[in-house]
Point group: C3
Chain length 469, copies 3
């Protein structure tokens, strides 16, 4: 049976000159607290501190990074528990066996890296996952999950999480967040994030129901545009009162453009009757996104944009298993042209702050870094999703730094619902920043004391500034 | 006179840690047989085993990788024998002198690498090509080509080619393939590939003649759409009966989209009268490509797509010298949107398999790897054409692996008509995979035994799976 | 107080194998003269040899590379002297203090690199810039600027500039260039460059005034197209008579396409009445650019294209501070399709030569290198603007070399108005070419004697050929 080990120098550059520098840089930040200003862990886990049920439901089923690659190798998503509700003990074990038997398909991917760190470091697994060792690994994790040290709050503390932001529907009452804030036995900071996509997607079936629901929750008439905007404004206040620092938006593109007032009112009336054309729906959505920017400039919620994904690319999968199951495929981005109207209006407004994420690496050196290197309001978001991976993270720094420096980058964002992977993810980013900075030191572009200050800033100062924490 | 030598460690990483690992990985695959599932060597060479005539006709004239760069430095293509028919002894020598005198223009290109390996390893040349040494090099190669060991079949065996796929017109009778299969003295596997581009390009002048020819060869009336499709289906069967495993398609884009049945019939009727508008021609071509996908899902021929090239970018050159002379220039690609209709219909169909090639590197991490990392049917093709070069090959692995792993990549594809370069090309890819994997080992992302298994898989298992060999 | 030092091996690869080779390659070109065929230093500085007034006006205010990043960190451009006319002693010192206090924002950027080399090497600064050391650094530079050795002509000689091209308006009388050419005490070669953008942008407000001015200066009636073109032709002759070797063009895209003669005449008449639609203005501009290509093929001025920037992206900044203040943001490029009409007509014309620059890195391997690797007229321009930075320069060589080799690249272009940074910029490019070539040597792709010849060619031969010097 092959053993599972972790190289203490993993991800640091192999040549001795850089490795020595990188080790020192990493050591300086390895144990600093985790600031996680954008992610998808449910606040309820921490509020109720419910024990995790089984290895598969915790580590595999909800993680589309992990399930998609098994699906691409012919495994049925249903077998992995996707869209199946609570798993039986047998189903959980069977799915986990499939994961272990397919351990080789993850070679070279960050999923492999994150799982390996979790298995070795968190669960104390010492054998390499395989068809043969699957049950042993499963049993050991399952047993560990029963212990009090593996309840969500205990892990939260053990992970050293200082701030954790969740992602929430504007109509959410945020009761879990309120409960945590009021709980004297919990000292962590768990913040909601305002995510109004579905309320802005006026052309999507079912939008009117969302608008109705917004009226119900806000107590504000949403039959006309003014009221609808007031309702959103009110919900933003509700979020701010519960600690929210940002509003997150994910549409096909980042265009936000104000319509003439009368036209906006008119299109909204049509939207309420579900009789917008596609072009009109897009125009109104872009107007509403512009209104979100205006509200951000007023209430101070940092605006974050996660654009450019063809969601649920495979219709039949979406119909059977729902959204967010690994069938989202990126699209080319356009930030220079699409953001111009927004940045005309708010780009130098001290109240406004904008963090840009992309899945299209070409936009990094061409558009995002130049924008962040001119506009005081614009920040470069961390490498996101498919790009949250070692080679891509280094490419990201390389594409961005020469134009925007380090000081306009957001710090690491884990963006994950895989709770137990959070330390591995942050540590991965810290190691890679150490590696990148060690290259600058080794080739004489930076002194080591500057590199040291920079990496500490990236971990502590940058996310606080970018997200107004 | 400067000597010509080959570094046994060429293309392996220079630092000692990685080099040691890379050497071991390369050694494990260096002598494995060559599987070449897509290329352009004429089957007739092997069927008739005709000796090669002269160095220029073998190594220079037909290789647009080599001639284009000389053209860009002001050399007339005619002087290189392009479009000139059989070369006189003087013309052959003169062209070869030009190649040697311009040896420096190839520095840093894969043409230099491939020629150097062929010169040193295959032809035993020991002096660096130059104006001064041109005749010596020419004479030595010319003499070697006269020996029985340099007849096509002898080289085929010496190269260790296990499978070689050619690229063929649907109307080809495949007599050469049949001859080889029936020949008890030849044990190699030489397979045809179905390449119907010209029959699908309904908007191009001369298409009706192709449709007529298809009718003649298939014995099926192609005056209406149903018959036309039947004729293509029949030709696919003919190809499958001769061992074909794939159908290759190269159009401006990869969009394949079904038209309503009546509209398709109507447009086809117009096409037969050569009276389609440009828009209609594109719509019908995309419908026909969709039909090709349907046939692939039924008959099991793997569909390969090589899109995104402005063929014969320079009209005057095309008029004088014809196609495929180095004047093709790549275009941006769009796989996410363009493949959606096709993948809705066949993306999870177990009968369907699709290998994607691109000349637009931006599509690798953004589109192709995410598609291959979700759809069971989708495979990442090898770096193609301009990207079949050391730095580009490493960029390709780096762009693809973190999202799609190694297991959904096709293995190396040489795609060449330069027969003698085949071993050098496959060995180059093996060295670079060893280099890439050695980095993963050196920075603790992979154990060496896993890297070893991976590189053996890439060379042996992946192409067999991707091409259903 | 931390000291400021320069690593003599800066930018060379850290591993010993490559570093040794890179050192030898760099040493071979480190002291070769500077050829600067495209830049923005005013000829008047050299003609009048006026002493530089103060550190800020020389090093900070006019350099949008430096000011934009301070602006992105919240510094008002006015405070940096942008658009303020001559600076008072207090304002100059205050701005310089801001620069030093923000020294950390430049970490990892080329601005940091260039300033550090200038500070240490040229001005003999030995302390790291900071809020504390700002006055000391300022005073030392200010004192140095008073010495005769820091007058423009003395620096020109000290820098070893062999050729310096300026960028000039077609209506410029080029008196400064004439003065320098006639001055027996000045032996440098200072050439004008013909930059007619504003005369081709027929859709921009104020164009008619430019056309009027052209008439006045050329003495040729510009009320109709023929005369307008004659006037431009006459000005090109004027430039050639003063030593110009190239004509530079920067529009939104690179499309140049001939209109039918009558349509061109008609659109021009409308332009003269300022009544073109946007579409018509674009069509006419592209026709005029085509005419510029035709003139280049006739008079031999090398055509250089710098496309793809959204100029003055932030309207309010442009209205307050004018153009070229750091608010220009790149756009995606399209060379394959857009250049096709031009290259049909002039691509193989021996009189025509075209150098392509891009801010969209994706076009390098996909379009520009393939074009330069086929068309004798096409050259790959150096990494430009945001891409004139260490990582980007290496990516540029990596993207271009495998398809176009070294011989079709232009050599380094500094494109700067920051006069004192010219040696640092050229040396940076030489170091990075040494680094890139050392990798080819270390992994056996090139012999060291070839690498040596290549780097000398890049510095001496390539710019002379690309710019017909």
């Amino acid at each position: 049976m092959t053993s599972l080990t972790l190289d203490p120098d993993r991800l640091l550059p192999p040549d001795p000159t850089r490795r020595a520098v990188a080790r020192r840089l990493h050591a300086a930040v390895a144990d600093l607290p985790i600031i996680s200003p954008h992610g998808h862990v449910p606040a309820g886990w921490l509020a109720h501190d419910t024990p995790f049920t089984d290895p598969t439901s915790l580590l595999l089923t909800p993680d589309h990074y992990a399930t998609r690659l098994l699906h691409s190798h012919g495994v049925d998503l249903a077998h992995l528990g996707v869209g199946q509700g609570p798993l039986s003990a047998e189903a959980s074990r069977a799915a986990f066996r499939t994961l272990c038997a397919h351990w080789s398909v993850y070679r070279g991917t960050p999923v492999r890296y994150w799982l390996q760190v979790q298995f070795a470091d968190l669960f104390g697994i010492t054998v390499r996952p395989s068809a043969e060792t699957a049950d042993e690994v499963y049993d050991q994790i399952a047993a560990t999950l029963q212990t009090p040290q593996f309840r969500p709050r205990a892990l939260f503390e053990r992970f050293g999480v200082e701030v954790l932001a969740t992602t929430d529907d504007p109509c959410d009452d945020l009761a879990d967040h309120a409960f945590l804030a009021a709980d004297p036995t919990f000292s962590g900071r768990v913040l909601p994030t305002f995510r109004p996509d579905r309320y802005l997607e006026v052309g999507v079936d079912g939008w009117t129901a969302h608008a109705d629901r917004l009226q119900e929750v806000s107590g504000t008439d949403t039959s006309e545009l003014t009221g609808f905007l007031d309702a959103l404004r009110q919900r933003r206040e509700h979020f701010r009162a519960h600690g929210a620092v940002s509003a997150d938006h994910s549409h096909a593109d980042v265009r936000a453009e104000r319509l003439p007032a009368s036209e906006a009112v008119e299109l909204f009336a049509l939207a309420r009757k579900a009789s917008l054309s596609t072009t009109e729906a897009t125009a109104l959505r872009r107007h509403l996104l512009w209104e979100m920017a205006r509200m951000s400039s007023e209430d101070g919620l940092v605006m974050t944009l996660h654009p450019g994904v063809a969601r649920s690319h495979h219709g039949p999968t979406a119909r059977t298993f729902g959204a967010d199951v690994g069938a989202d495929i990126p699209l080319p981005g356009d930030f220079t042209r699409d953001l111009q109207p927004l940045l005309q209006d708010f780009g130098t407004d001290p109240g406004f702050q904008l963090v840009l994420f992309t899945l299209d690496e070409t936009t990094l050196s061409r558009e995002i870094a130049p924008l962040a290197g001119f506009y005081p309001s614009v920040w470069v978001g961390a490498p996101w999703w498919f790009l949250d991976a070692p080679d891509a993270i280094v490419r990201h720094r390389s594409a961005v730094t020469e134009t925007a420096g380090f000081g306009k980058t957001s710090g690491f964002i884990d963006d994950t619902r895989a709770f137990c992977s959070i330390p591995a993810r942050h540590d991965m980013a810290r190691r890679l920043d150490a590696a990148y900075l060690s290259t600058l030191v080794a080739d004489g572009r930076l002194e080591e004391d500057e590199a040291l200050e920079t990496i500490v800033d990236i971990v502590t100062v940058n996310p606080r500034k970018a997200f107004r924490l």
